[in-house]
């Protein structure tokens, strides 16, 4: 099994009052690991404010990210689930699974992102991620393409 998302970057059942807090919570593991600076979280939130909720790619799932910038130290990915889903103002609301993507440039993360996309594109995969009760369960589901 290839690790696409590190266990330290996975959280389940977090409580967010709105979409901004959801993005902030998704980014926190990456701040803790030193992969991003806090500025990147503000950038991700501003991106949605400026460009709209297009990051909600499918029912229940948001891919929070911003442009490559100096606030990204290392390309990295985190994944959280929310206890209560939040609305982004998207036709794919409500959202209870949020992934945070940070990339140092536009190409070096492509391979990892494509592997993650393969997992996400399986039918029912977002629901299965959302239903994960523990970090271990969510870790297995996002990283083990066979099982998901």
């Amino acid at each position: 099994m290839e690790e696409l998302v590190k266990k330290d970057n996975i959280k389940v059942g977090l409580e967010a009052s709105d979409w901004k807090e959801a993005i902030k919570l998704a980014g926190e593991p990456l701040i803790a690991s030193g992969d991003i600076k806090k500025q990147y979280i503000d950038d991700m939130i501003r991106s949605v404010e400026e460009l709209g909720p297009y990051i909600v790619l499918t029912k229940g799932f948001a891919l929070a990210h911003s442009a490559p910038c100096p606030a990204v130290i290392r390309s990295s990915v985190s994944l959280i689930t929310l206890k209560e889903a939040v609305n982004f103002g998207s036709s794919n609301d409500p959202v209870n699974v949020v992934m945070c993507l940070a990339c140092v440039d536009k190409v070096s993360h492509i391979e990892t992102l494509q592997k993650i996309a393969r997992v996400l594109m399986r039918k029912g995969s977002i629901e299965r991620l959302a239903e994960s009760k523990t970090v271990e369960e969510l870790y297995q589901r996002i990283n083990n393409a066979e099982e998901v």
């Binding site: 991106s47 909720p53 990051i55 790619l57 029912k59 990210h65 993360h109 492509i110 494509q114 594109m121």
Partner: protein, 96 residues
């Protein structure tokens, strides 16, 4: 005949547009079709030469009135059936 050039666009050209390009490449392969696929960001995509832009609904309105090429809206970036239907429909038109 030149291959159709399909540009997949998101906010920055490094997140969801990559996923969309991958899904479109899968559709092309599955159906034995050929096209050039590239990614772009919503700010600069109109200056990238291409035959069509595939983009999410939220971003489409930012370019729709200025785009000289067809703009295809994808509602669900993880829905292979929707992507396949729209890619095949576009290529049918292109090849007419």
């Amino acid at each position: 005949m030149a291959l159709p050039k399909i540009q997949c666009v998101c906010g920055f050209g490094c997140g969801s547009s990559l996923m969309l390009r991958m899904a479109i490449d899968d559709v092309l392969k599955k159906n034995g079709l050929e096209a050039d696929t590239l990614v772009g960001d919503v700010g600069t995509c109109l200056s990238n030469p291409c035959d069509v832009i595939f983009i999410s609904r939220d971003l489409a309105e930012r370019i729709a009135d200025r785009a000289e090429m067809p703009v295809v809206i994808i509602e669900n970036f993880m829905d292979n059936a929707e992507i396949e239907e729209k890619v095949l429909a576009y290529l049918n038109e292109f090849n007419k």
